[in-house]
Symmetry: C2
Subunit: 150 residues, 2 copies
């Protein structure tokens, strides 16, 4: 009786784990795909994280490095490296907060503002290209879902 083993608790669960159906695995691949498209649209000139910093600075203006990291979803160690690389390229400015000796204030340089303006169309292209496989209503729902599991 019951040779296929429908013992609802154990082996049934064992067999239906398919890697290609798992959120994490799909999320990783989706991000890889987006990173590739992003690089194409930007001509390899900038990474998504670097762009995120520029875009956030353009949005809110000067900001402490720590807060900037929180706004752009980056660890303190990560934001440090990203800012460092943007500094080398003279796209951002860094100064000590005169009112709080702990903080570093980061802002867009003129070059950084120009880079933001110049690449804004590329950023839109990257977003559009990434979602191109989805229908218009699916895109909206997909973005809502993504935000929900943030």
């Amino acid at each position: 009786m019951d040779p296929a083993g429908h013992l609802q608790d154990e082996q049934n669960e064992q067999d239906d784990y398919v890697l290609d159906e798992q959120v994490g695995f799909l999320l990783r691949q989706a991000q890889q795909r987006h990173a590739g498209l992003f690089s194409d649209c930007f001509g390899g000139d900038m990474t998504p994280t670097q762009w995120a910093v520029l875009a956030k600075l353009a949005e809110i203006g000067e900001c402490s490095q720590n807060l900037l990291g929180r706004y752009t979803a980056m660890d303190v160690a990560t934001i440090k490296g990203v800012v460092q690389r943007l500094l080398v390229r003279h796209l951002v400015l860094r100064r000590r907060d005169p009112d709080d000796g702990r903080q570093l204030l980061i802002s867009l340089s003129q070059e950084g503002r120009a880079a933001f303006d110049r690449h804004l169309p590329d950023a839109r292209k990257a977003s559009t290209a990434t979602l191109s496989a989805l229908s218009e209503p699916d895109r909206a729902l997909f973005l809502r879902c993504l935000k929900a599991l943030r």
Copy 2:
């Protein structure tokens, strides 16, 4: 009434670029969230990529390192490192392909198989936890969308 406020630049319809609405930015955060949940579920014992290799090997059996990388969506340089770390932990075996001197054949060790069996419930928990913010129908649609933009 100029509800958008004062116009400091020639902004307007160009400047509706909001970082927090972009797919790439949301994808990155979703993956960060999942990585954290995954680590929690696994007790920090394994990374998502390492688990992907184990799960794929459990699914298809012995496999060349190169093909394994393609199945798990990893660059040749990446899969090399992941396999190396799994080798150190004795979770996988590696041997030269007797029929093709270029290839390395990777397979699960007994320990690796045991680790897979032991962690399978954790993997399910991680997937479920990641999607916990979505309704049941939304989960299915979300996964379909993720697969579509792979």
